[in-house]
Point group: C2
Chain length 351, copies 2
């Protein structure tokens, strides 16, 4: 089983000579050096990821993983658990927010059932089921270590498959009623902070609801004393299936030299777990947006990532990651399409 | 002459019933209410601007106005004045940053020579010349009141022409060596703040250069004692031609019910002048990005606008406005393409 995680050992460093070539190219474009700010750094990072000084336009995909959570039994969401399956069907039918935003970005959409309670067996949904929802982590582990490993391996496999199919940038998203609670438990455990610092309203709790969520996270942490620092054990204890699969997608994406665009708080938990397993994966990450969930800022600080957008999105599904794709596309277009000072006959004050 | 400014009197309020219809529609989409944050507010604003509860996809244009500045004689830029004309030629040839970003956003690009020192007479550049660069405002007015009025009228005319031609959203940009000094003088005068609070490095000054710029702005303000509060007089005194033209484009855009996407500090000066002339124009504005120039934040606060992006851009040309266009396009697509709870058969917890 653990053999399937060998890609973790195979994440290459960014290609520094490609980054240097991209930087030189940008410095000769008809603009003051560095005047396109983060857009230029994004282009250089992408050059390093793709190991190409002049990479072609990104070929983007949005990968949304869905699963149900035993936490939902604790009443931690404003929505009933059946909404997970209903939304997965809406993803497949093309009517969800992420469908619209993926189309706008010209990205293919890959929807994965990683363990919805009742299987969503419709065309357009990949079944990579690890179970019929996780167990309630307030009474013991959300899943077994073996399930967590299988979920990670499935995510690695999906990302590698997309890479083999020509995708060069994956935006990651999630769906799962109760999953901000799983993500909060993972943030608390992986960052070593109090649950109250990482619990927020999710998609619609009031102050009492947030307080109840804090207590659920506290009980989950108490029910799952983690002795070691193995992030696989942490994922198994606190869930969920989609977060473990997304952890694998990050690792598989990095090992395939894909740019990995993070969404908000849920995908942030996967990014924390992935970079604990393989710190080299960090250089492949872009933070699509900053979630209003209080734990997300802490995670991005730990990851050393600056969010590209801050639009008060609290939907998940990969919406914040998909909205950031046009910025990556624009950065790469600047690198490949802009004229140089010499070609344009413009006086460069910096030479 | 002043008759040409009648559109200023004709800016309609946003259509509240269209905004209400858009809000209702968004509340029935398959997502928790308000969970797409600023994207939803953008869609509602656009519905109000267009007076349509379900507006079709925006038809965007980028309007870049260029002119030279007498301030350049004071050595306020890292670049020589001839770069203005060279860059206008690069805009026409398709090789500048704004050309790339306009293409990425699917926007037509309109380049205007509003008064470059030597006319840029090439295909693809509209000539709306108010003069061969402004006069050096440290020795008296940058232009006459009549020139300022003609520039504003020209901007109004251009925006109305674009509106008549099917454009529904204009992103505004500027080019002009020395124009952050003109913009700083306008910010200081219109906001009533010390020049030191609104002078920054522009596209590449060091600390000494910024200090020299502060002193140039102080001298320009001293050389042009403004007794009244007429923004036309302020534009005439402190320049420049492209800023006065952009002021008109904002007014004309609002009078035609176009969404007007602002770029950074230079276009911000035009927005301050335009909203002083016609406060109703404010509701038609979107702030594309936050410039690192210190005065820009003050202007956006005065305008009551939150920037959509903050990417450390300091190029101008409309790059920050063009990069924000995909967010407007995404917001409108969410409004028109997402499924409702009823249509998708999803349980809505909020009903």
């Amino acid at each position: 089983m653990e053999d399937e995680l060998t890609p973790i050992e195979q994440i290459p460093p960014l290609d520094e000579s490609a980054m240097w070539a991209a930087e030189q190219e940008l410095n000769h474009k008809t603009k003051p050096r560095g005047s396109l700010g983060r857009l230029e750094r994004l282009a250089v990072q992408y050059a390093g990821i793709r190991s190409l000084g002049a990479p072609p336009p990104p070929e983007p995909a949005v990968l949304v993983a869905a699963a149900d959570h035993g936490y939902a039994e604790e009443g931690v969401s404003a929505y009933p658990a059946e909404v997970t399956a209903q939304m997965v069907r809406t993803f497949a039918a093309g009517g969800a927010a992420i469908c619209v935003l993926a189309r706008e970005a010209g990205a293919r959409l890959v929807v994965v059932d990683a363990g919805v309670r009742v299987p969503v067996d419709v065309p357009g949904v990949r079944s990579v089921r690890l179970g019929a929802g996780t167990a309630n982590a307030t009474a013991g582990p959300a899943m077994t270590r073996e399930q967590a490993l299988r979920a990670i391996a499935a995510g690695i496999g999906l990302a590698r498959e997309l890479g083999a199919d020509g995708v060069t940038a994956i935006a990651l998203g999630d769906m799962g009623i109760g999953n901000t609670t799983a993500a909060a438990a993972l943030h608390a455990s992986l960052l070593g902070v109090e649950p109250a610092r990482v619990c927020g309203p999710g998609t619609g709790l009031d102050a009492d609801g947030v307080q109840a969520k804090v207590s659920v996270v506290e009980r989950a942490l108490a029910a799952n004393p983690l002795t070691g620092h193995d992030p696989v054990d942490t994922l198994a204890a606190l869930g969920g299936f989609e977060i473990a699969l997304l952890t694998g997608a990050i690792l598989g994406g990095a090992s395939e030299r894909l740019a990995v665009v993070l969404d908000g708080f849920i995908v942030g938990a996967a990014a924390l777990a992935a970079t604990r397993l393989a710190p080299a994966a960090r250089d492949y990450l872009l933070a699509g947006h900053l979630s209003p969930e209080p734990g997300h800022r802490l995670a991005l600080e730990e990851l050393g990532l600056d969010p590209l957008l801050e639009l008060e999105l609290r939907l998940g599904e990969g919406t914040g990651a998909a909205l950031a794709l046009p910025l990556l596309q624009a950065a790469v277009a600047i690198l490949s399409e802009m004229a140089t000072f010499d070609a344009a006959g413009v006086t460069d004050a910096c030479r």
